[in-house]
Subunit: 312 residues, 4 copies
């Protein structure tokens, strides 16, 4: 075995940029700080390669936690080609896009009292029920604009919603033509609203209609990269998409707070994906363990600084 | 504040039953050992109440880890009324039911080498590719028996598969008429097989067709209980199902290895669900943190011992 | 790569013993359930080998959580030759031994209110301040029996305390002549009591006086095994003790809830200890991740059943 | 219950400073990103208050991971008044100070091979045995300069070592007169070296000699604040020091990767410390869960930027 570069003790300077801080973490190179710096290196490569199709997986309550702005910004800058999300993140994206807010709260409070005050809790974020009233109006109106008798894929349904919004992830994706997949759309408030709508309308959402398009994406990609925030359905759906091709992903980055030893896919190492062929044999891959409300902003600030310079 | 019962130091005896061990954990009553004992108490109540509809959520790679046998057994004994699962667990259930095996392996090995030897890894479990060849044969044959032009719900598709099997979760559920829901069925090998099938056949899987039936279950339930193994789509789909009714779940048990402070639903406390009305205000709820390959068997052995006696 | 034995789906039976349950986990063999079964196999070997010196590390708030009874029982049965503990566990052991109790409480309460009610909290365990009043009486009386001018090692001090008690870990260890080490004794209520005592007495506790005896233990051991509950000082002190000999530990078991990727010793894999020579090159080692209030009792019940039979 | 400020979606800008990034996390305010921003606010207050005595706890393999530079820098800037550390961090601090290096390695390698190549592993950091040869020379020489027959406290021993070094934590602390406590010094390579030395010399290290000085610090402090990196002995030793006074700490910050539900002190919430009186009733306290190789540098860069401006 050989030793690599020396671990350089991190030196922080007042006023240093996020990029300079990540550079310092890279010179230390240890544990998750080191992994974060290597992940920024790899992300920069992914974003600099015009032949690379970039998949982005979004799981965990990231939009209520304030991370949606980074995702819509990455879409706007052309850094995401295919998005796979949980239904919850898209629900909360719509809520913000129609002008409602999530609020800072606390995790240490009486949930029974919150219930009586009609406030829903997501760890330390509060969301008043009133937002869902406006959400219902918007969703029912949006669904009503779909011609009776249509058969839509989930991606088409989400594009239809996004094209009626002006800010946020769905709006940015619709504007740039970035497909948004959400295999378990039923498992969200969007799904419950659709169920209400479907009681009096005849529109079919074909669960499998998205797969040919997604798999074509994979077949057509010269090179493919995955950036995975959290695990769940988005992680698996992105990784399995490549299974049908001859190749696997060429590079992959995963931000997760889960752990591998429980056996679940969300915490599984990216190496495990290599055995399945989801990652190519020589693929580069980095996992950063931690809370994505810290790691994602730091990485995004650093990679944009590298791509666009300090005055970009 | 008042103190409860004294913590009794755990005394283990050679030959003690699983139920007696859980009783001892209950008399200590601390940390996750204490929570496990309280969860067994609550589970016993759920199973003893004839007016209780029992939902069971199954996430994480539980079938490859050997936990599928417990789930099919619980179905066979009438202890599960509605099952919501990830697609992966059902895929691996089919693989076992058609006579293929998962194998004990190791987490510390070269995944590139595994790839070359055509072995897929799930943490320390190995699954040779050969199993997927037989899986493909079975699935294509099963799908081919569906009449052209059909429109099916996902639950109907899974019942169709289960009725062609003799052992395992899907078989037990089909035999007892227990509905199995899997909102993200596309996100699994079953989904990829269906995509292959759909290239030459005309069968529609309507993503939302299951919701009326599931919600009717919730409306009809006098009392409802949830037993959640892992988080992900099964946890959310079960909890949100009750949102449309006046009531929430009356009791809930959650086995998870995730943590709450990351904000994601999988690690969220059950109290959080109270603020949304997914749990009723006075609902009893217990979370046991840990690996379900330890906690689920211990709890199942203890609750069956209590329900059926030591010579059941 | 080769596959091992097939994963056998776990079958639970009402009335099965803890040992039979662990056997079933072993036949599944996956994730932490499988690791737990392998750890019981290894523990049984350690306990069956008359040439093996058995070290036991005790960290985490195990005594308040009701696990102290298992440790004193293991000492009483001759299954522990050297104990290394945190000061906190020994403090709480004394508290129980002098007739005070820990109580079942809750983690979700107002700590300010607890403070006003003079109740100290350890996650969901409550300990009234009154216990510390009696603790102070006992400790001051015990210390006063040490002749002025003495120079003691920490182990001698703990033996002195244990010999004045009738139940618990320190009592069992004193009765059987099992040395108890506690390198950071100052970092505990025992330490604070000693500081009070030392204000008016002249007794010296030599921090390093224990090391020759401990290292002699290591030099003299034909074979050595370590059973580590939690990490912290006990884990490191045990593992480093073997560094000065030619050999490392021959086998090691670790129960921990920590994770390796943070770099800290508490979550470090036992393989890492191999690189340092703390474990012998061919040493067998198993880590079980999870809450020791579940894993330790289950493992202890199973190993005693194997050693002594079901009617032991 | 009332909602706080709206969650502002994080906006990252190329070239933004670490301080501006933390400000953005604060405006989102959710999960650990929000906690990190609140912790920086509190840290700034602690550092700006001339009547505040600042304790700093250092656990986990922080020096091998490159975080030692931040700690010595904080000492140099006068931001730490009392340091409590594990012995391991001080050992690795000496190793760096005498000119040896830690190296970047990998966590996925053969530890048996590392052993044969005489390389010690700390997760993904490598340390060749050669460093310990030089460490032994330095330590034996340093110990030899202590007059025979001396009785020293651990803090005095560490000051003696630090005064013979020019860079690093012990050197900075010795230069500024900052006391360094290490209750479990025996549990480290420094301890093993001392054991070697003590075989032929007569110097006594009195385990309790440090306590009067530390407790005087606590009695004298008008206000006291704690900054805890990791748990273990440093966290407990700092928090318990205040137990003997009328007051508890006025503010506390904790960076940890552990979890509370296992009952151990390392993962315990700071609220729990309130019930014991270790924190004052109205004390402000923030815990940030995550890897300190990410959170500590980001927080340190942000707080220095606030204290000294962008061109400090």
């Amino acid at each position: 075995m050989e030793c690599g570069e020396p671990v350089r003790q991190v030196e922080v300077r007042p006023g240093m940029t996020a990029g300079a801080l990540v550079d310092a973490l890279g010179r230390a190179g240890a544990y998750n700080g080191g992994a974060l710096a290597r992940a920024v290196d790899l992300w920069q490569e992914m974003l600099s390669d015009p032949g690379m199709v970039r998949f982005f997986g979004l799981a965990g309550a990231m939009v209520p936690g304030g991370m949606g702005g980074i995702v819509s910004d990455l879409i706007g800058r052309g850094h995401i080609d295919v998005l796979v999300s949980t239904g919850a993140n898209l629900t909360h994206d719509v809520i913000e896009a129609i002008g409602c807010c999530h609020y800072r709260g606390t995790a240490g409070c009486s949930d029974a009292e919150l219930r009586r005050d009609e406030i829903n809790r997501i760890y330390d974020v509060f969301l008043p029920n009133a937002a869902f009233v406006r959400f219902e109006e918007f969703m029912q109106e949006a669904f009503s604009a779909i011609p009776e008798g249509s058969v839509l894929s989930i991606q088409e349904l989400l594009h239809h919603i996004g094209s009626r919004l002006e800010t946020g992830i769905l709006a940015a994706a619709a504007a740039r033509g970035v497909p948004v997949y959400c295999p378990a759309i039923q498992d969200s408030m969007i799904g419950l609203q659709y169920w209400l709508f479907a009681q009096t309308h005849r529109v079919t959402i074909d669960a499998f209609r998205d797969m040919p398009h997604l798999l074509d994406c994979c077949f057509d990609a010269r090179r493919a990269g995955a950036f995975l925030v959290g695990g769940g359905v988005p992680k698996n759906f992105i990784l399995q998409a490549m299974l049908m091709t001859e190749n696997g992903f060429d590079c992959a980055i995963q931000l997760t707070g889960d752990r591998p030893d429980l056996g679940g896919l969300s915490g599984a190492t990216l190496d495990e994906a290599r055995s399945w062929g989801k990652l190519a044999e020589g693929a580069r891959a980095v996992t950063v363990y931690g809370d994505a409300t810290i790691t994602l902003p730091l990485m995004a600030a650093a990679v944009l600084e590298r791509m666009e310079g300090r005055h970009g």
